[in-house]
């Protein structure tokens, strides 16, 4: 056939991604409503309480939703960036812990220093530690061809147990009551972003990183190479005439560094000390955040806020509507399933519309093209 792409295929990819993501969220809410009703709850009350908890007042939005969105924003960016290069970094959780530990250790080692010194140094240390943590899977992948899904995942456990060991031992607080570190010096606290709220500079940093990654990917030769390598490593090498190995290294290191920042920023901005169970699994939720954003850095800002709102509203839902907070985890999981499904459906439709008579290519295309879906099962 003459190639005459249909309306659907001709839509700008960004618009299509937005439609897909929105459809996925709506579908999730519909399923969640049905499940809530089955469980004997009133979906209307539950969602209303959730919305009030997340957006009810300016303070709820800023001090709860945005604050909770911050670690998801950073880890989500880390995951999205790696996934764009087809590097399946499932290890944001471990890189986050590595960054948190490094930041705390450096902050505690510099008790008298001023904020102008401590903040940059701790941020750098956290980023470096996250990158270091990611460099192990990177070396195994580029050097020996070991799949990063397994290695990044396993490195998470190493980081978690290392963190446990350190807060129970070498870094344990001086008074020795809880398994946590001493409080970091005030100079290492991230300043508030808005007066009289708990929102800290970390959120702004996250947004700036999102903008930076977007510019990098869309406008620079390096970002172009990364997208090409991610979309087709063979085509990158043959037609782009560049080696994908440095691209893979870069995406591992940058991804790890951003995830590392996430851990330290949470401590420097919110908890002010490291303890066991610092993260409720942000590094994993980040995968959903990134996929819902279709790996677009600017969209990650939005999806991180959506997940932040779910988290902030979950408590309110439990208090006000008597719906257990675990439902929120269920909703998060449903969002992932819905995104992956919607992704596949919409892409299949677009492809069928575009290529009519080539079912073989549809099949062979799937593994190579779906940026969100394919590689993450």
């Amino acid at each position: 056939m003459t190639p005459r792409p249909l309306a659907l295929a001709r839509l700008r990819p960004e618009l299509m991604a937005t439609i897909t993501a929105a459809a996925a969220v709506l579908a999730t809410l519909a399923v969640a409503a049905a499940l809530l009703a089955l469980g004997g709850h009133s979906p209307g009350d539950a969602f209303a309480a959730l919305a009030r908890g997340a957006f009810g007042t300016w303070d709820r939005f800023v001090s709860f939703t945005l604050v909770r969105a911050t670690p998801l924003l950073l880890t989500g960016l880390a995951v999205a960036f790696a996934f764009r290069a087809r590097v399946w970094n499932i290890g944001a959780e471990g890189q986050l812990h590595a960054g948190a530990l490094a930041g705390v250790a450096v902050a505690l080692a510099l008790p008298g220093a001023g904020a102008l010194l401590v903040l940059p140094v701790t941020l750098l240390a956290a980023a470096a530690a996250g990158a270091l943590w990611a460099s192990v899977p990177a070396a195994m992948k580029t050097g020996m061809g070991v799949g990063e899904v397994i290695t990044t995942l396993l490195m998470n456990f190493v980081a978690l147990f290392l963190a446990q060991f350190l807060v129970q031992g070498p870094l344990r607080e001086a008074r020795g009551v809880f398994n946590q570190t001493d409080e970091i010096p005030a100079a290492a606290h991230l300043p508030a972003l808005l007066p009289d709220t708990r929102l800290h500079l970390g959120f702004l940093l996250g947004v700036m990183i999102a903008v930076g990654l977007w510019l990098y990917l869309a406008r620079t030769p390096g970002g172009f190479r990364l997208r090409a390598a991610g979309a087709s490593a063979r085509a990158a090498e043959v037609s782009g005439r560049f080696s994908v190995t440095p691209v893979i290294w870069l995406s591992f290191l940058v991804s790890g560094a951003i995830a590392g920042l996430a851990g330290w920023i949470q401590i420097a901005g919110v908890t002010h000390r490291m303890y066991e169970g610092l993260s409720p699994g942000w590094g994993y939720t980040a995968i959903a955040v990134a996929l819902l954003a279709r790996l677009h850095p600017l969209a990650v800002v939005v999806t991180a806020i959506v997940f932040g709102a779910l988290s902030a509203g979950g408590g309110a839902m439990q208090r006000e509507a008597g719906v257990p907070e675990v439902w929120v985890r269920g909703i998060e999981a449903l969002v992932i399933l819905a995104v992956l499904t919607a992704d596949r459906i919409v892409q299949g439709m677009a492809r069928r519309a575009a290529h009519g008579g080539a079912p073989r290519r549809q099949r062979s295309g799937e593994a190579g093209t779906a940026p969100g879906g394919a590689g993450v099962q």
């Binding site: 056939m1 003459t2 190639p3 005459r4 792409p5 249909l6 295929a9 001709r10 406008r219 620079t220 030769p221 172009f224 190479r225 997208r227 090409a228 979309a231 087709s232 063979r234 085509a235 990158a236 090498e237 043959v238 037609s239 782009g240 005439r241 560049f242 492809r351 069928r352 519309a353 575009a354 290529h355 009519g356 008579g357 080539a358 079912p359 073989r360 290519r361 062979s364 295309g365 190579g368 093209t369 940026p371």
Partner: protein
């Protein structure tokens, strides 16, 4: 070659004396706004070999897929063995005796030929995971009946393309098969292997199976088919007995107009001429070896390419051509030997879908694959996308790519248009050397003509033309375009001198290679 009359086949070809093996009546299939098949009638007589021809996108694969159960028609009636049927899946088709051999084989590489045959055929299984003890004999008997020379005990990965194809065919013919659909079966074969395949097809047809041969190469279709159907833009334009047709008539039916206008005048580009002696060498390999062990990809390859000449490299796929191209393009460094290569090398890779293009990228982004490293296309740290867009737009216009804009995704282009984009982009790069790997594979007559003409014109350019290395398994293409010819055999490059060598000798040399080296 002489063909014997077959049982069950009507002499006239138009009014069958026996029930049709399959009949498609007024089949229509749309993909969105595109009508891939428009009320097409198609009839298969038992025991005939029916060539199905058409340009890319004419609808022949769609037609085959509908008969094979992979696609469902929007309108029309399908009859198999005289009964009207509904085909909702390949399994339905299979149950009615319709089997399909795809262009890209569907074999499990680690399994042996026998295991692959068994995997596909339900009756092979005694119970889950256990092949019935008697099945092996059945397979052997069937292979003998069909005169199929198959290797059943080696893993498929170790077999050559021709051997794999025979296993595909055996696999499809283990149970009663009324209709066998073959999609471009000769695209991957050496000339001698094509003959072998045709012998097998005649055998199969002689036993009463109707064969649909989807193909591009007119001569081959004429050599083996009893009848030929030509599709153009979703409509059937011709069904006729092969003996009453010439290749030219077929080509014109496919294209829809006389071809003469598009043929470049002989000798215009000096296609018969010799390389101009005063042109300097641009690329040079001496004793280049890549890969180690028993089967290196390249072994002691020596070669010199001059400006303004087309060096044709023939050979069965998989004899080191891919590596040679990668070395010439500077992507792979020789492990031993010396290489002097220019900086500006265009490389039209063999697999345009996977290597020549990033399918998710727009045309402009695909063009940027060649431009992103160039200073002229940067502004400070940024890529100069407007400038890249301009260059892409120029390219698209020059090449007549049928798309709205350079912002269209490469995935929405037809094969011919994709190849035009790749060709145009690599011409931008080919200041000194162009490596063209099977540049017309899978293209229709018109697109093939266009690509070949462009290559010749590039090499014959008046001022500072690049040297061209044309790597192709299509011997006719090499003979048509090349000034000098060499053959790749198991990683070695064997020069055969000027092009007036006879084709049979080159073919014999090609085949001595087998086809299973990496």
């Amino acid at each position: 070659m002489p063909r014997e009359p077959r049982p069950g086949r009507s002499p006239g070809g138009k009014a069958p004396l026996v029930t049709a093996a399959a009949r498609l009546d007024s089949i229509t299939r749309r993909f969105g706004a595109v009508t891939a098949l428009d009320a097409v009638d198609f009839e298969l007589v038992p025991g005939e070999i029916h060539g199905l021809l058409g340009e890319n996108g004419a609808g022949k694969t769609t037609l085959a897929n509908i008969l094979g159960g992979l696609l469902v028609a929007d309108a029309g009636v399908i009859e198999i063995g005289g009964r009207s049927v509904e085909l909702r899946s390949a399994r339905d088709a299979r149950a009615l005796g319709v089997a399909m051999v795809h262009q890209h084989f569907s074999l499990v590489p680690r399994f042996t030929g026998f295991e692959n045959v068994a995997l596909f055929n339900g009756e092979a299984w005694a119970r889950r995971g256990v092949i019935a003890p008697g099945y092996r004999r059945q397979v052997e008997v069937r292979a003998r009946e069909l005169k199929l020379d198959v290797e059943l005990d080696a893993p498929v990965a170790a077999l050559g393309v021709g051997e794999r194809q025979r296993i595909e065919i055996l696999k499809a013919l283990m149970s009663d098969t009324r209709v066998l659909l073959l999609d471009e079966p000769t695209a991957v074969l050496a000339p001698q292997e094509v003959e072998g395949l045709f012998a097998v097809l005649r055998e199969v047809a002689g036993a009463g199976t109707a064969i649909v041969l989807v193909a591009h190469k007119l001569d081959e279709v004429l050599a083996v088919a009893d009848r030929v159907t030509v599709l153009r833009r979703g409509r059937r334009v011709l069904t006729e007995e092969a003996t009453k047709l010439s290749a030219r008539e077929l080509a014109e039916a496919m294209v829809g107009r006389a071809l003469a206008a598009e043929q470049p005048a002989e000798g215009e580009g000096g296609r018969t001429g010799q390389p101009k002696p005063d042109f300097a060498p641009v690329a040079f390999l001496e004793d280049v070896t890549v890969g180690t062990g028993d089967a290196p990809s390249l072994r002691d390859v020596c070669l010199t390419v001059h400006r303004g000449e087309v060096l044709g490299i023939a050979g069965v796929d998989g004899n080191g051509q891919r590596m040679l191209a990668a070395v010439l393009a500077g992507v792979v460094a020789p492990e031993r030997g010396r290489a002097r290569l220019p900086d500006e090398v265009g490389w039209i890779p063999q697999d345009r879908g996977e290597e020549g293009l990033v399918r998710d990228f727009t045309i402009a982004e695909n063009v940027a694959l060649a431009l992103h490293g160039k200073r002229a296309y940067r502004r400070g740290p940024w890529l100069d996308w407007p400038r890249i867009g301009e260059t892409s737009a120029t390219l698209v216009n020059e090449l007549n790519v049928l798309v709205g804009s350079p912002e269209a995704s490469a995935d929405t282009l037809s094969g011919g248009n994709q190849q035009k984009v790749v060709t145009g982009r690599e011409f931008l790069r080919a200041g000194q050397l162009l490596v063209a790997e099977s540049p017309t594979r899978g293209l229709d007559v018109r697109a093939t003509r266009a690509v070949r003409d462009r290559i010749v014109r590039l090499a014959r350019a008046a001022s500072r033309p690049p040297g061209v290395v044309l790597i192709s398994a299509d011997l006719d293409e090499v003979l048509e375009l090349a000034d000098r010819i060499a053959v790749m055999v198991r990683g070695r490059l064997i020069p055969v001198g000027p092009k007036d060598q006879n084709a049979a000798a080159i073919g014999a040399l090609m085949l001595s290679a087998g086809s299973s080296t990496p």
